[in-house]
Amino acid sequence: MEPFNIVGWTSRSVRFCRGRTWKSILQIPEHHNSERTNTMKTMLMIALAGTLLLVFAIPAQARIKLTTLPERDSVRVDIQNGRYTLVEEERTVNLQASRNQVDFSWANINIDKESIVFRVIKADGEVNVLNTNYPPNENALYWTVSAANAGPAVIRISYLIGNMAAEPSYQGVVENDEKKLLMQVYMTVTNTSGESFGEMIVQPGVGKTSVRYFNNGERKRMLAAKFADVPIAKRYVFDATVDQQRTRMYYRVINDTENQMGGFPLPYGKVRLFIKEPKSDGDTVRSQAFLGEDWAQYTPLFAQLDLYVGVAQDVKVERFTMDPEGGPKAAFDEIVVPRFTIDGKEGVTKPQFRNQRTRYRYRLQNFKTEKGDPISVPLTIKEHLDGEWIIEKVVLKEILGERNEQKEKEIPYAELFNAKRIDVSNAEFEMKLPPTTIDKKYDLYVTILKKYRRY
């Protein structure tokens, strides 16, 4: 919607005021009751009559070949910069040969006066901006423009405004088999700039959308991008520092073209995930269920995005801290280093360092089923370590039976277990956890040797 423009009159020129509605200029509050509406209408009429009288009664002070700004031909609003919004508007002005003055003023909108750029896009003959003038104490400026020939010229005015913001959000629709998803990126643009825009193009950081109107105070939600058939990896993660009781289920997507994404770095925003339900004959439209939501961190190209969907209650992990094998004596390794004295003697000394050995026991149970059949799940156990460390020993035991009949036996773990060093502070134990029952479960023992601890 093109904003209401009102012709004002000043001692210097005729100009267009931007960004004010009739009501805001006349300072009529917006109330919907009839009494106030009548008051508003009366005031509006008086103001209109007064304005018209002024227009005809007061002669304009001369500005040579004054040109007023006509209606906008097109508007583009660019919100890609987080702090400022760039508005570019194109208008066609009728210039006369020689010097022209083009006025530009605004109200109720926070325009950075220094940022206003005036450019001539198309004109018959040479057109030059001779100078820009800033009248004191006014939200206005005017350009002195010289034109070689008289005629229409397309000009573009660019400026920065405040109080417009774009907030990204995502919606993922996961296929029923949880192998792929449709990721839709939405941008919600809030316009509290003070200006009501008509037909315009919005570039909110992702995508580009044409809207018919954008009034002040409104928010618009626009579909900015869509990625179909994005492969997802399902992960079950146990991290005792986050939750000692529960295992969490994550979806992992990778922001690259191989994985049907990679169009742009994904901005920070909320992701809501839905899953398609199994198709049934009675359904006209396939139903969906809400799976969960998470904040998507800023994800550069080629980076992975992990989304916490919900608790995996069928995958149980219990973590216990145990003494290392070999008992309390094996908990520490005393460090002995050679000692050389000035007089050439050699000996040994015990510095304030020692290796600390910690053994964790993870009781693992997997009751996950798919179509009624038990299935293996990819489980990741996270441990947060510190400093120099190595994984010294891994033992996987199968626990059969219960109570007095319980038996345990060590089983090979090479095909089931993989230890990954993420960085100096983080280790991940990846495991393909087979299905378990009440009478069959697994105990995973991991011994970690932390080196050179000061004590």
Binding site: T192, K270, L291, M322, P328
Partner: protein, 507 residues
């Protein structure tokens, strides 16, 4: 309905003050054709799906959607065109200034006529919970389990004739729906006062009035409309279906989910589930006596020959997880009288896992723990004097000593049948255990720790973690059984405790 019909009244002022939009047709939403509620119990969130038949004209149509006195997250509202998507397109969604209880959709249509649409949103205030009633037979070997689901609507909105689905599982929600619904929308002007919503009492009053209205309507229409006319004497079936990490319980047919009127339905009715009683004592919780637990497995029931019984999903276990909820347990005598055994909250139980319900303290099994003897040995200390202010102060250097405690635990079961017990003991040092697997290699180590000798016990002994040890026993009725064990606490580098008061003597 409250949602949608309000559109006409609420949006009228916009129509008057927006002259530039005069060419655009303003369409109000027709009534719901169908409603589906998907209710979550882990969070206050309900996904509502409404199907409506929308009449559109060729060109751009503005569809208005508004609500009042109910908490809907405006950012969650989705509009889907279900048919003729190639000719009808959603251009954008607009949230009007200063309001968070309304929005508009701009739709571009190449055709005139009716199109089916779906409106989906998240609402707050509707919850569901599960609860169970278990009736055990007299000798506590079989249990009849009835599971219920209870839907409570406190949203302020009436959802009549709605398909109702319940989600079992814990979803991740990063913002509360009620908070999002109450979040003020951006104002047109910075000093514009925020919209004041009716307070909770007003809402209750409004919803009560609406309830009366719908009750009257309900009476007029009768049960036929709710699908209870045919075979209404039978309880409705709850269909269970796995979905990712969750389970979806769909209540058969349609339900009227009225405001402030909880509805309870049978979700499970299983007879003669094999039951086991376990008695536990753990020092983690500081218990002095035993606590009784009922145990049964969430697996398909077997007949006498060990084959799976042919039962419907409502009458069998092991086909869906059991959601967390309150359990009330009764014991049935032969004359059909009931005795209340106890009530407790139970956790979520996956398919194939065991259900363990805390029945409460049991006084029939007693335990008496006696400290029979103690001794201190291997004391290593160094005494020395230091001069301080012309006086000697007696110091003791770091002290090592071993303190051995000899315990006897006397267990008596007053139960008429053998009782399975578990006793978990806690020690204040890292445990070195001599259990049923033989003497450990480090038993004679000089390192600090609690050296627990439980090898004389007949049952299995398990080291739970660094400081906990558990033993298992089966107690015969009326028989006294003793457990003897010792704990040697090897204390090392203890501070100068023998002269804590730092006595001084003159030079």
């Amino acid at each position: 309905m409250r949602i949608g019909l309000l559109a006409v009244r609420l949006f009228l002022p916009w129509v008057l003050v927006a002259p530039a939009l005069a060419a655009v047709d303003l369409v109000t939403l027709p009534t719901r054709e169908g409603t589906q509620l998907t209710i979550y119990n882990s969070e206050d969130i309900t996904m509502v799906r409404e199907h409506r038949l929308l009449t559109v004209k060729e060109g751009v149509n503005r569809i208005q959607f508004s609500w009042a006195n109910t908490l809907i997250d405006p950012t969650s509202i989705e509009f889907r065109i279900l048919d003729k998507q190639d000719k009808v397109d959603l251009v954008d969604t607009t949230f009007p200034s200063g309001r968070n209880d309304a929005l508009q959709w701009n739709i571009k249509s190449q055709i005139a006529g009716k199109i089916p649409v779906e409106i989906r949103y998240f609402a707050s205030g509707i919850t569901w919970s599960a609860d169970y009633v278990g009736i055990a037979n007299e000798d506590e070997t079989k249990l009849n389990v009835t599971g219920y689901v209870r839907v409570t609507n406190g949203s302020g909105e009436v959802y009549d004739n709605a398909q109702t689905r319940l989600v079992v599982g814990k979803i991740n929600l990063v913002e509360k729906i009620a908070d999002l619904a109450r979040r003020p929308s951006p104002s047109r002007f910075p000093d514009e006062p925020p919209i004041v919503y009716p307070d909770a009492n007003k809402w209750r009053e409004l919803s009560h009035r609406r309830k009366e209205k719908y009750d009257a309507l309900d009476l007029a229409l009768g049960d036929e409309r709710r699908g209870e006319g045919k075979g209404g004497h039978k309880p409705k079936e709850v269909i269970k279906q796995g979905l990712s990490e969750y389970f979806l319980f769909t209540i058969d047919g349609r339900e009227d989910i009225k405001d402030k009127e909880p509805k309870r339905l049978v979700a499970l009715k299983v007879a003669e589930v094999p039951l086991e009683s376990i008695y536990k004592l753990t020092e983690r919780t500081g218990d002095q006596g035993f606590t009784k637990f009922y145990r049964f497995k969430n697996v398909k029931l077997l007949d006498e020959k060990g084959k799976e019984k042919k039962l419907s999903a409502m009458e069998n276990l092991g086909l869906s997880p059991l959601p967390n909820g309150m359990v009330r347990l009764f014991s049935e005598y032969k004359n059909k009288d009931l005795a209340y055994v106890g009530g407790t909250e139970t956790k979520y139980v996956p398919i194939g896992d065991r259900v363990e319900v805390n029945v409460g303290p049991d006084k029939d099994i007693t335990i008496c723990r006696r400290l029979k003897d103690q001794k201190i040995g291997n004391v290593v200390a160094r005494q020395y004097k230091r001069r301080l202010d012309d006086q000697f102060v007696l110091y003791f250097d770091l002290i090592d000593y071993d303190e051995t405690l000899f315990y006897e635990e006397e267990l008596i079961s007053g139960k008429p049948v053998p009782a399975k017990i578990e006793v978990e003991r806690q020690f204040d040092a890292n445990v070195v255990l001599w259990g049923s697997e033989g003497e450990p290699k480090d038993w004679t180590s000089n390192e600090p720790g609690a050296y627990v000798d439980l090898h004389a016990i007949t049952g299995r002994v398990e080291r739970v973690d660094q400081q906990h040890v558990k033993y298992f026993m089966d107690l015969s009725p009326g028989k006294k059984q003793r457990v003897e064990y010792s704990v040697t606490c090897k204390r090392r580098k203890v501070g100068p405790e023998l002269n804590a008061e730092k006595k001084r003597e003159p030079l």
